[in-house]
Symmetry: C2
Subunit: 136 residues, 2 copies
DNA sequence: CTAAATGATACTAAGATAGTATCAATTGAA
DNA sequence: TTCAATTGATACTATCTTAGTATCATTTAG
């Protein structure tokens, strides 16, 4: 069961690194190189991952020399759910094999109904965990 | 987020069909053909799916003419978690990118710790839903 | 200027997914 | 006894997804 994909995983490692750098050294702008040096993640791949966080408004990016990435909001405001959604889309356990198309059975489906209730709880839990506490 | 895979989805459809056949017509043994006729699932693929349920002890199988599949336990005893586990393995949201190998960070990892707690709740919920009620 | 950084895009190898195709073994019944 | 209906077991395949690499363009501090 791949709940957290590699994208999300790497993003989390990067964000936790950035949160620690901010707290411990008051380092606001971090480069991909900084992260790779510490976390041993694949360079170019990680760049794309961070770019996505920037597009989605979680990070801000700065080009050019002395550029890099910084938080666009305080780490406490970024939830685990937020990060997962960036790479995996909305958290939705209620997929059936007709997903995408509208399942004709969708409204009456009991499986869906039950899982939907569980899903709501899951979202709430994941929304309640933030990068600040995870980096602690 | 593919929580329920196609295998699991098809298996659920088949099991719900069997549960209804049992309740409404007291039909205990059902063939792949019966299910395909009603649920429009791919024949050979479905066979393999049901074979797996038989191997795992959820269904009993009977070869030869008048053969087919029957429940190996009452539908009420088969949980959603059971079916998911057959095709997707243990329900475990706590995968990190070092999964398989033992993550050196595993014991201190806060992400893992948090998700582990959520996972326990999820398993409990899914274990509390059974085929009988879903087929109702 | 230029080196250091991100932005954007194209490409690729390996693996997973969702099947199909076949034949073997079993069994109830004509 | 023969045969048709059924599951058991494997091998194969096309498509999609994953996890990257490679490259060049753009920006900017010094
Ligand atoms: S069968 Fe489509 S939502 Fe349940
Ligand atoms: S980093 Fe491996 S378990 Fe969290």
């Amino acid at each position: 069961m791949r709940f957290i994909t590699r994208d999300t995983d790497y993003a989390l490692r990067a964000l936790l690194f950035m949160a620690r750098a901010l707290r411990h050294e008051n380092k606001k702008i971090v480069t991909v190189e900084d992260i790779v040096a510490e976390e041993k993640l694949p360079r170019v791949f990680l760049r794309r991952i961070l770019q996505k966080l920037a597009v989605k408004g979680v990070l801000s990016s700065y080009k050019g020399k002395a550029g890099g990435f910084s938080f666009a909001m305080v780490p406490k405001k970024i939830s685990l759910a937020d990060v997962i959604i960036v790479y995996q889309g909305e958290i939705d356990l209620t997929n059936c094999f007709l997903q995408g198309k509208i399942c004709p059975n969708r409204t009456r489906c009991k499986v869906r109904k039950k899982i939907k209730a569980i899903n709501a709880k899951l979202i709430k839990e994941l929304g309640g965990i933030n990068i600040e506490e995870l980096s602690g």
